[in-house]
Amino acid sequence: MAKILHKEQLSADVYLMRVHAPLIVEERKAGQFIILQTDEEFGERIPLTIADANEEEGSITLIFQVVGKTTTELSQFNVGDDLPVLVGPLGKPTHIENFGKVVCVGGGIGVAPLHPIAQALKAAGNEVTTIIGARNKDLIILEKEMKAIADNLIICTDDGSYGRKDLVTAPLKELCENEATKPNMVIAIGPPIMMKFCSLTTKPYGVFTQVSLNTIMVDGTGMCGGCRVNVGNHVKFVCVDGPEFDGHLVDFDNMMARLSSYKGLETEALHKCNVDKEFEAKLEEKK
C-alpha cells in the first residue's frame, strides 16, 4: 500500500501525484518505472515512469494522462488514499555520462519520464537542449522544471498556440544540421510515432538516439514477454532489457501494431467506465 501525499491537475487530462514509497526512492535511478494497480483483485497492471523523487518526504512523483479505464480510475484517487499495488523501481536505469552536447526531446506526457533523465544528464556535466512538443498550449507540462535544467529550451505546439508552430522533429533537424549545435546524443520520449520520426530525423546525421519504449506490460519483471520488441533483429523485453533502446534499431511499426493488440477492448472498458460515472452522477442527483 502506498499513500498519496499530493495530487494536482497539470492540464485537462494530465495529473501529477506524489506517492509515499520510501524503498523505491532509495533505489530508483533516472529512466526507471513502476507498475501499479488501482484494485488488487481485478485491476490491471500499468507501467508509469518515475518522474521525480523527494528523499525527505520518501515520495516518488508520477505523472499520467487519462487515456483509459485504469488512468481514469487513478485520477479519481485523492490525497490520503492508498494505492493498493505499487511495485518498483523496474527496468534498467538510463546510462548517464558526460556525452557533451545532448538534446532531450519530450512529446506530450513523455516530458514526465524525460525530466529525471534531463536532470541526471545536466548533473553529469552535459550541455542540455530540451525540445518540448504538445498538441496545444494547455498540454505543455513541466515547462518551469525543464527550464530550470536546460541550457536551451525549445517549445513546439501543433497549432502554434505557444512557442513554435512545428513538430519537434523540425528544431531537432536544425540542431543536427549545424556543426556547432550537432548533438553527441539525443534522447526522445513520447508517443511511438514521435520517437520513430525523431529516430528517422537523426539517422542521416549519425547521431546516437536513445528512445524509451512504452509497450504493453503485464508483470514488468521479465516473465511474460508481452512487452517484447524487435531491436536490431533481436527480440528484447522492454521491462528488463529496457525501457531504453537505440532508436535507430527499433522496429517501431511492429511495436505500434503490438500496442493496438487490445484496441477494441480498451475502448469498451473506458466506455463502460464512463457509463458507470454517469450512472453514479445520476444517483447523486437523486439523493
Binding site: 524503498l23 521479465g222 511474460c224 524487435n230
Partner: protein, 496 residues
C-alpha cells in the same frame, strides 16, 4: 477415464465397499489385487470446458477406503523412495483403509507440507506410482494405487473439517531469514525455518502469493482457495509477507543482509523466463508466451470479463506449441476463453509428451485437437500485423538420439498452412535472471541456473537456493523437496 457419472460411480463403489469391508473372512492379497482402480469423478466435459471450476471432483470417503484397500502394504515399498519428499505412503494409506483420516493426514504432514496441492499437481505416474507393486501386478502404471488421489482426499478432508492446526513453532531465536519468491519452494522453506523459531519474511514480486501455482496452473486444476489456505497456515505460524517487492530491484539481494539485517536468505525465484521458437512472425499480434497467456487469465482474472480490467485476446482458432503441462493448461484455457478450435502442435508423438497423462485425457475430452509429428515453421500476418496463419512442417521418427528417444526428422517439402489467429508458445522456461543479474557475486551456470552445493548453499555464505532457479523448469514436488533440504541447511547454519 471417467465417463461414468457421479451416481454410477457411487453405485459401483457401494457394492465393492460392502464386499470388502462388510465380510466375515479377512480379505486376501489376491482379492486385494483384484479390486478395480477407483475412477475419479469429474465435471461433465461439455459443461466444464466453459467454466473455470475444478475438473476432478475428488474421491468420496467410500471410494478412498476402497482404493486404499488396493495397497498391499509391501515390505519394501518402492513408492516411498520414488517420492521426492519420501512420504510414508503405505502408512497413511493404511489409516485411510481403517477409516482413521486424521491419522492419515498426520502421517503425510510429517514430511509433506502442501498435500492438497501435491495430491493435485504431482506427476504421480512418473514418481510414487511408477513402481507400485499393485500396478506391476496388474501390468499397468494406470492400475497402480492412486496415491495422489488418496493424498488429496485426506488433505481435502482435513480442510473441510476446518481443523487444520498450524505446526508448533519453537521459541523465538532472534535470527532473521528472508525468502525470495513465494512459489512451492519458498513456502516450504518458510514453514520449516519458522518452525525452528526464526523470524521469517517472504518477499514476492506479484500482488498475490503462490508463484506458478497462482499465475500458471489454472483454477480448473488447482483452485486458488487451496493456495490461500496453505498461505494462511503460514501466516498463523507468524511468517511475514512482503508482496509487490522485487528483490534485485526494490532491494538488492545483498542489501537484505547489509541494510535489513537478515542472517540468511533463501532464493526460490523459479524458472519464469519464457522461451520463444526464434521463427519468423513470432512478434506478430496474437502470439503469446504461455506465461503471458496464463498470467492474464489466472493471476489477472481476465476470464472474468465483467470484473477484470486486464483484457485477453479473443481468438477463434488457436495453436499451442509444445507438449508439456503448460501447453495443456494453455490449450484448455483457450477453450474456456471461447476459442472454437484449439490445436496442440507437437513435433514428437503422444508417448513422448511430457504432460501428465491425466491432463492429456482431460484436454482430449474437452475437445482440444492434437497434431502430432508436426511443428511450426513460421507465423504469417495480415496487413495489420495480426496472426493470419501458421506454416507447419510434418515430421517422421528417425534414429534414437542420445536420450534414447527417436528423433523427429523433417519431411522435406511437407509445408502446409494451419488456419489460426492466435499462437501460444509453450516450449519451456529458462531460469529467472533478475536476481543473478543484479547480484554479480552469485555463481550461475551457462543456463543461468544458480550453482549450489549438496546443502543447497550458493556461492555466498548464508545464501541458499532451490527449486526451478537451480533445477531449470521442473515440478512442484521437486521444488518442495529442494526447499526442505535448503531449510534444514539454513536451520543448521543459524544454530550457533
Amino acid at each position: 477415464m471417467s465417463h461414468l457419472s457421479q451416481a454410477e460411480i457411487n453405485e459401483q463403489v457401494k457394492m465393492l465397499f460392502d464386499q470388502i469391508f462388510n465380510r466375515e473372512k479377512p480379505i486376501t492379497k489376491k482379492e486385494q489385487l483384484a479390486i478395480p482402480p477407483q475412477m475419479m469423478p469429474a465435471q461433465d466435459e461439455k459443461i466444464r470446458s466453459h467454466n473455470l471450476e475444478e475438473v476432478a471432483l475428488g474421491y468420496s470417503a467410500e471410494q478412498a477406503r476402497v482404493e486404499a484397500m488396493r495397497c498391499i502394504q509391501c515390505a519394501k515399498p518402492a513408492c516411498i523412495s520414488d517420492c521426492p519428499v519420501e512420504i510414508n505412503i503405505p502408512g497413511f494409506i493404511k489409516h485411510i483403509a481403517d477409516n482413521d483420516f486424521q491419522s492419515a493426514i498426520d502421517v503425510i504432514k510429517e514430511t509433506s507440507l502442501l498435500p492438497s496441492i501435491c495430491g493435485r499437481v504431482c506427476p504421480q505416474e512418473t514418481q510414487c506410482q511408477l513402481n507400485c507393486a499393485t500396478g506391476k501386478f496388474n501390468k499397468s502404471v494406470d492400475k497402480a494405487v492412486a496415491i495422489g488421489r488418496l493424498e488429496r482426499f485426506v488433505a481435502d478432508w482435513e480442510r473441510e473439517q476446518g481443523t487444520i492446526t498450524p505446526p508448533e513453532v519453537k521459541p523465538e531465536t532472534g535470527k532473521k531469514v528472508a525468502i525470495v519468491g513465494s512459489g512451492p519452494a519458498g513456502l516450504v522453506v518458510a514453514a520449516d525455518v519458522r518452525r525452528e523459531g526464526h523470524d521469517v519474511t517472504l518477499f514476492e514480486a506479484f500482488h498475490k502469493l503462490g508463484g506458478v501455482m497462482r499465475y500458471g496452473i489454472p483454477e480448473f486444476r488447482l483452485p486458488n482457495d487451496i493456495i490461500d489456505q496453505e498461505v494462511s497456515t503460514l501466516e498463523k505460524m507468524g511468517v511475514k509477507f512482503q508482496k509487490n517487492f522485487v528483490v534485485g530491484r526494490t532491494r538488492k539481494l545483498l542489501d537484505l543482509m547489509k541494510k535489513d539485517g537478515f542472517d540468511s536468505i533463501f532464493i526460490g525465484t523459479g524458472a519464469g523466463l519464457p522461451m520463444f521458437m526464434g521463427i519468423e512472425g513470432e512478434n506478430l499480434v496474437g502470439v503469446f508466451s504461455a506465461n503471458e497467456y496464463l498470467t492474464r487469465a489466472n493471476l489477472m482474472k481476465a476470464y472474468d470479463e465483467t470484473n477484470s480490467d486486464t483484457p485477453f485476446f479473443h481468438s477463434k482458432n488457436v495453436a499451442v506449441l509444445g507438449g508439456g503441462n503448460v501447453a495443456m493448461d494453455s490449450a484448455r484455457m483457450a477453450l474456456r476463453l471461447g476459442a472454437e478450435n484449439v490445436y496442440v502442435v507437437y513435433r514428437r508423438t503422444e508417448v513422448e509428451m511430457p504432460a501428465r497423462v491425466e491432463e492429456v485425457e482431460h484436454a482430449k475430452e474437452e475437445g482440444v485437437q492434437f497434431l502430432f509429428l508436426q511443428n511450426a515453421k513460421s507465423i504469417k500476418g495480415n496487413d495489420k500485423s495480426r496472426v493470419s496463419g501458421m506454416e507447419c512442417l510434418r515430421y517422421e521418427l528417425g534414429e534414437p538420439d542420445s536420450s534414447g528417444r527417436r528423433r523427429p526428422v523433417v519431411i522435406e517439402g511437407s509445408e502446409f498452412m494451419l488456419d489460426v489467429d492466435t499462437v501460444i508458445v509453450a516450449i519451456g522456461n529458462g531460469s529467472n535472471p533478475l536476481v543473478s543479474q543484479t547480484t554479480p557475486e552469485l555463481a550461475v551456470n551457462k543456463w543461468g541456473n544458480l550453482i549450489v552445493d549438496k546443502k543447497m548453499k550458493t556461492s555466498i555464505d548464508g545464501i541458499y537456493a532451490g527449486g526451478d532457479i537451480v533445477l531449470g523448469a521442473a515440478t512442484v514436488i521437486l521444488a518442495m523437496g529442494e526447499g526442505r533440504k535448503a531449510a534444514a541447511a539454513i536451520n543448521e547454519y543459524l544454530q550457533d
